[in-house]
């Protein structure tokens, strides 16, 4: 995968200042200040319960912080009309569950919702967009199947296809490939990376797999216990020291020529 040159894009997407969020009184995120810019593929990393998903929800306007400010494109996030925000931000959730037997195509078509007038049917260009989204995610053959009868991995690809059909400026991925085997993970990440490189679709991804993140993201944000431990270019922050601080494991980081990215091996610290 081609690593993008750190381009001179400096347009600010998000700026967070002093953001706190708690859920039923339990603090989840504490004093988060952060700037996310155009032209970088961001990865949010951290152990379970570190607040990664919550941070993504705050960026997407799905939750509002108790204190602090979040601005998106220079405007307070809560001031954005929800529908307008939905035209710019698409989310691929972690476990995509559909409760009724909608066909795969019907679910992908829902991605057009923020763009379509309430009673309008998709026009020809939009139909093509749907076909394309089905095609690139490799689920075109499943288009008429009820989504309830797909495997977990297939469902996840439906979620990605739907997010693509939403034509977002920024794609928010919440461990979107955790349920996929390595082939499908790479395929999906590759496809998203291609949209990023060629069409300028921005990406913020919560990820679990450090090696996939190293391979996929230009910038990493490490969270631990609701606070940012460090952030910066992947090559600068993906270090054994940071990994030990965040995850509590010993790590070795090597530059891998096969994948052309940093790769990490781990072991539990040996106690004397």
């Amino acid at each position: 995968m081609a690593r993008p040159l750190s381009e001179q894009h400096t347009d600010l997407l998000w700026s967070l200042a002093g953001v706190n969020f708690s859920y039923n009184g339990t603090p989840v995120l504490r004093d988060i200040s952060l700037e996310l810019r155009h032209g970088c593929c961001y990865g949010i990393l951290g152990p379970n319960g570190s607040g990664k998903t919550t941070l993504l929800d705050l960026l997407g306007g799905l939750q509002a912080p108790q204190s602090g400010t979040i601005e998106f494109q220079g405007r307070p996030l809560h001031a954005w009309p929800k529908k307008q925000l939905a035209r710019l931000l698409a989310l691929v959730p972690q476990d995509f569950m559909v409760r009724f037997g909608f066909s795969v195509r019907e679910v992908v078509e829902m991605g057009l919702h923020p763009h379509l007038h309430r009673f309008a049917a998709p026009n020809e260009a939009e139909q093509v967009l749907i076909d394309e989204a089905l095609e690139v995610t490799g689920i075109a053959a499943l288009a008429s199947r009820p989504v309830t009868r797909l495997s977990g991995g297939e469902k996840q690809r439906v979620a990605v296809a739907r997010a693509l059909a939403q034509k977002p400026t920024v794609l928010l991925l919440d461990e979107a490939t955790s349920n996929l085997d390595i082939h499908h993970s790479l395929e999906i990440l590759h496809l998203i990376r291609e949209r990023f490189d060629q069409q300028g679709m921005q990406v913020v991804a919560v990820m679990h797999d450090l090696n996939l993140a190293a391979f996929f993201c230009d910038q990493l944000i490490f969270l631990k216990e609701g606070q940012i431990v460090c952030q910066g270019p992947t090559n600068a922050v993906l270090t054994p020291e940071n990994i030990e601080t965040v995850y509590g494991v010993e790590a070795e980081v090597t530059a891998n020529t096969f994948t052309n990215s940093r790769q990490v091996s781990f072991r539990l610290p040996v106690h004397p």
Binding site: R87, P93, F96, M97, G101, M110, H113
Partner: protein
């Protein structure tokens, strides 16, 4: 789904419904021909006197006795069908209906309370009638359920169902107590609980028609949002659907529809549950289609059931019993057939 599909589907359905209404109006103790039914109705609706060729008794029977009852059965069935479809979509549960949140049970409690008070011979203010209390019972129950579930800011379907089940259990026990109090006259309560359209009048129709229109319009207006809700709250919110507001609006509207229907007809089970449920397996889960179809199918089902009990069966069987007796076996057949087709059961 485009405009042509809508027309191709709903024009014939409307025609079938009108024909069924006319056919039902010919049946009964007094036989009237279909053309005569149309003549009588046209005269009635346009406010003219009935033409000379029409038997005045037949005119009165059709226009003032049969027709309100027939239209009430269509409207009540339609209201129950739509509200069932909406409850199922909101609660993300194909087995939900107005009982799931205790709405119908609340209406039954309201009605039973008035009946018991009447049995005890209390002088009630003229506003305290069974329909008014049934309506208030249904709406009041929703208020209590929403209050109980409101600790969960997202108003999730799990919280709503849990609150509904608790409230319904309490109300059922309360109805049991009222039946106990009614003692020998418990039949009055039981009769109301089994539902009947025998008392339907034109003033009922004037109330039911705008409610059905309003409810159907609101439900259809939000039908695409309802589809998206089936993919989970987070996903729906990220597509610009205000899930909490949508649930509040649609729960209120379907409660109003159910409560009004119940206040006219008493408790008629099964229609709200079975009609949308069966339709979902025939035409798919798309609420844009499912909601209007539920109106037609619910209306038609209740019309057939009511015509059977009114004009065909030797004695009048309570309509709530009949819908379950008719719908139940049909549901069983469908259920077995799906298993044989190798599809997962409902």
């Amino acid at each position: 789904m485009n405009a042509r599909t809508v027309t191709a589907l709903f024009l014939p359905l409307t025609a079938v419904l009108i024909l069924a209404v006319a056919l039902s109006a010919t049946l009964g103790f007094l036989n009237v021909s279909i053309p005569d039914v149309f003549i009588i109705l046209f005269a009635k609706l346009s406010g003219q006197t009935q033409p000379a060729g029409i038997d005045p008794v037949a005119a009165t029977v059709v226009a003032d006795v049969r027709m309100p009852r027939i239209l009430a059965s269509v409207l009540v069935g339609g209201l129950l069908g739509i509200s069932g479809a909406v409850f199922q979509a909101i609660l993300l549960n194909p087995l939900a209906d107005s009982y799931t949140l205790g709405i119908s049970t609340g209406a039954a409690f309201g009605a039973s309370l008035v009946i018991v008070l009447q049995i005890f011979g209390l002088a009630l203010p003229s506003g305290v009638t069974i329909p008014v209390f049934a309506f208030a019972g249904g709406v009041g129950t929703l208020a209590v359920v929403l209050f109980l579930a409101s600790g969960d800011r997202r108003l999730s379907s799990t919280s709503l169902i849990l609150a509904g089940v608790i409230v319904a259990a309490i109300l059922s026990a309360a109805i049991g107590f009222l039946k106990f109090l009614a003692d020998e006259q418990v039949g009055l309560i039981i009769f109301w609980l089994m539902g009947s359209l025998a008392g339907a009048s034109w003033s009922n129709i004037l109330l039911l028609t705008p409610t059905a229109l309003f409810g159907a319009l609101v439900a259809v207006f939000y039908s695409r949002d309802l589809n998206i809700m089936a993919t989970g709250d987070r996903a729906a919110t990220s597509l610009g659907v205000n899930t909490v507001r949508l649930r509040l609006i649609l729960l209120t509207v379907s409660t109003l529809m159910t409560a009004l229907a119940v206040s006219v007809s008493g408790i008629i089970g099964f229609v709200g549950l079975i009609v949308p449920h069966m339709l979902r397996h025939m035409v798919g889960p798309d609420n844009r289609l499912l909601i209007p179809l539920s109106f037609f199918t619910g209306g038609l089902l209740l019309l057939i059931a009511d015509t059977l009990t009114r004009a065909v069966l030797p004695v009048e069987v309570p309509i709530g019993v009949l819908t379950a007796l008719l719908g139940g076996p049909f549901f069983c057949i469908l259920f077995k057939k799906r298993q044989q087709d190798g599809k997962t059961a409902f």
